[in-house]
Every structure is written in structure tokens, then in C-alpha cells.
Amino acid sequence: MIERMLLALLFLIGFWGIVGIRNIIKKIFGLTIINNAVVILFILEGSRIGNQVPILEEGIENIVDPVPQALMLTAIVIGVCITALALALAFRLYRHSGTFDIDQIHRQVHDVT
């Protein structure tokens, strides 16, 4: 229970990073953090039903749930891909506008168009 509430707090901190900070690099930090929080949530809860690593050997039973682990492998990789692309876009935005501040970038773009 306490663990999950702490995870909810972690998630909210990340979400605050996305919404409440105008620096676009920090927004990407926030995205990484919320992704991480969800991954930890899956693994933590999936490990509640067993106490063995899901690698079967002789005499091993009561393994943890391997499904969330396999899903989270995919989720981690996709998260990093999205991060890489977002950083590349942030780099180009910086090159054009000389700032990381999303509001200023917004203003510049709308002044042009």
C-alpha cells in the first residue's frame, strides 16, 4: 500500500515536470520519470505472487508473473525511443529559437505565421 502511494507520488512529480516546468528538456525528464514509475508499478505488483526468478530450473516453482516483465521490456525500449526523438526535436527547436522555454518558442512561431 505504502509502496503504491509512493509510486503515485513519483508519477505525480513526473507529471508536474511535464506540465509545470517550461524548459522542454525538463519536460522530457518528466516523461522519462512517469514511464519509469509505471514500469516499477508493473514489476512491483507482478512480483507479489511469487518469490522466484522466472527462469525455470529443477525444483523451481512459485515464480513471479513473467508477463508484466515481458511487457515492460517493450515499454522501456519504446520509452527510450520516444525520448531520443523528443530530444532531437528539442535540439532543432533550440537551434531555431535559441531557447528551451516552450512559451517563448510558441510565441516566436506564432509571430512568424
Binding site: F15, P54, I55, I63, A88
Partner: protein, 251 residues
């Protein structure tokens, strides 16, 4: 020109956080016991069905290999898109990959970086460590069905080995492995191989993503090893290419 933190901004942030908290708390609060259906199935039948001891590998490359294909595609698109976007000027998608002129400049920039920042220590350590890391990467890649690890993780290790080689090798006598063109070729070929491997089941009448090797009389686990190797190559080449391109462009 500096934008001030306005009341509206704070109100928006407050609104977001409060509403999301309202949604999250019941979801995180719930104490419904975690389901055991899938775990029980994997514990009892997983090894017989897939031949792999590592159940995560069995799911990742057996039961849910279609997801893994999607993930690989995300990585492919992200790597090429990132390189395309950071490459200055011109058409993002047209330039970037495998284009000789582009690669030339990436390579040039890389060598200048290496010259500028190289120290004897860096050269020796990375140069000697590179092959070791590569071998370790291949180990992780090929034994994913027995121990933790697998194609993707091994591929990332291989990629760091490639980066080490690029940093440690001499600017003029670098191995072919660290050239962008070679990596691009490697990546596209292993992507093609992955698609063909997924289709091989169709030819032998087993269906999409069926275990071809098992039908040919080889051990079932062979297919997982094969997929691990292909994915590892693809990931290693792709991430290695991206890191080399980025290292070259940093200064």
C-alpha cells in the same frame, strides 16, 4: 522577453495535477490480488511449449513476438528519424541514412572529435575494452533463453562495444565496424532478415511467426536463439550508429 509565471499558468498546472490525482488514487489504491492465470500457465507449460528456460524470453520472443516486432520497428524508425532530424539542412528524410556525402561528414566530424579529446588513457582503455565488450554482448545476445538477457540487451551492449571501438581506434586505421555506412547496411539487412524470419512459418505451412525450426526437426528453442541473434544485430547496429552520429556532432 523572459516570460513570467502568470496566475493562469499556475492555475492550469494546479488543475492538471488535481484532476490527475483524483484519477490516480483509486487506481493505485486498489488491493485486488494480482491474477495468477498467466503465471500458472507459464510455470506448467511454458518450457515445454517454447523450449526456453527463461520465461520472460519465452514470452518476449515466443508468445508475444509480434509486440517485439513492433518494438523493433519503433527503434528502427526512432534511430533513423533522430539522425535525420539532427542532420542539419536539407530534407530530413531524404538525407541521413547511408547517403555517402552525409556519412562522410559524420565520419569526418567524429574523427575530429576523437583527435581533439583523445588521451592516451582513453585510447588504450576503450580500444582494448571494445572487443571484450563486443564478445560479452554476443554472449548476452545468444544465451538469452537460458539466463537473463536476450537480443535487445545484448544488442545494446554490442552497440556500446562499437562506440568504444570508434573512440579507441586510431582515426586513420579504424575498423570497418565503426563506419556509418557499414552499420546502416547491417541494420537494414537484419531488419529484412527479421521480416523474412517471421514469414518463414508461412512457407512451411505453420502460420505467421510460427516456429519454423521446430518443424524442420531442430530443437524448439532454436527459433528464439535465431530471433535473438537477428534482433541483437539490428539493435546493436542501429544504436551504435545513432551514438556514433551523436558523438561526432557534439562539438
Amino acid at each position: 522577453m523572459r516570460s513570467k509565471i502568470t496566475g493562469l499558468f499556475l492555475f492550469q498546472v494546479f488543475l492538471c495535477l488535481v484532476t490527475i490525482t483524483l484519477v490516480l488514487i483509486p487506481l493505485f489504491w486498489t488491493d485486488i490480488p494480482w491474477p495468477t492465470i498467466a503465471r500458472d500457465h507459464m510455470e506448467n507449460f511454458g518450457m515445454a511449449a517454447s523450449g526456453a528456460r527463461n520465461m520472460v524470453s519465452a514470452i518476449y520472443l515466443g508468445y508475444r513476438v509480434f509486440d517485439t516486432l513492433g518494438e523493433t520497428i519503433v527503434l528502427l524508425v526512432a534511430v533513423s528519424g533522430t539522425i535525420g532530424i539532427i542532420a542539419h539542412g536539407g530534407d530530413v528524410l531524404a538525407k541521413g541514412f547511408g547517403d555517402p556525402s552525409r556519412n562522410e561528414s559524420l565520419y569526418q566530424e567524429k574523427t575530429t572529435l576523437v583527435k581533439k579529446q583523445r588521451t592516451a588513457l582513453l585510447e588504450v582503455v576503450t580500444g582494448k575494452l571494445g572487443p571484450v565488450v563486443l564478445v560479452f554482448g554476443f554472449y548476452v545476445m545468444l544465451f538469452g533463453h537460458l539466463s537473463p538477457g536476450g537480443g535487445f540487451q545484448g544488442g545494446v551492449v554490442v552497440a556500446s562495444g562499437i562506440v568504444f571501438l570508434a573512440l579507441g581506434g586510431r582515426a586513420d586505421g579504424s575498423t570497418r565496424l565503426t563506419e556509418a555506412g557499414v552499420l546502416a547496411k547491417l541494420e537494414s539487412i537484419s531488419f529484412l532478415l527479421l521480416i523474412l524470419a517471421s514469414l518463414s512459418g508461412v512457407v512451411f505451412g505453420g502460420g505467421f511467426f510460427a516456429n519454423t525450426l521446430a518443424q524442420a526437426g531442430m530443437p524448439e528453442v532454436g527459433f528464439i536463439v535465431l530471433l535473438n541473434a537477428i534482433i541483437g544485430l539490428k539493435v546493436g547496429a542501429g544504436i551504435g550508429f545513432m551514438c556514433i552520429a551523436m558523438l561526432g556532432r557534439a562539438e
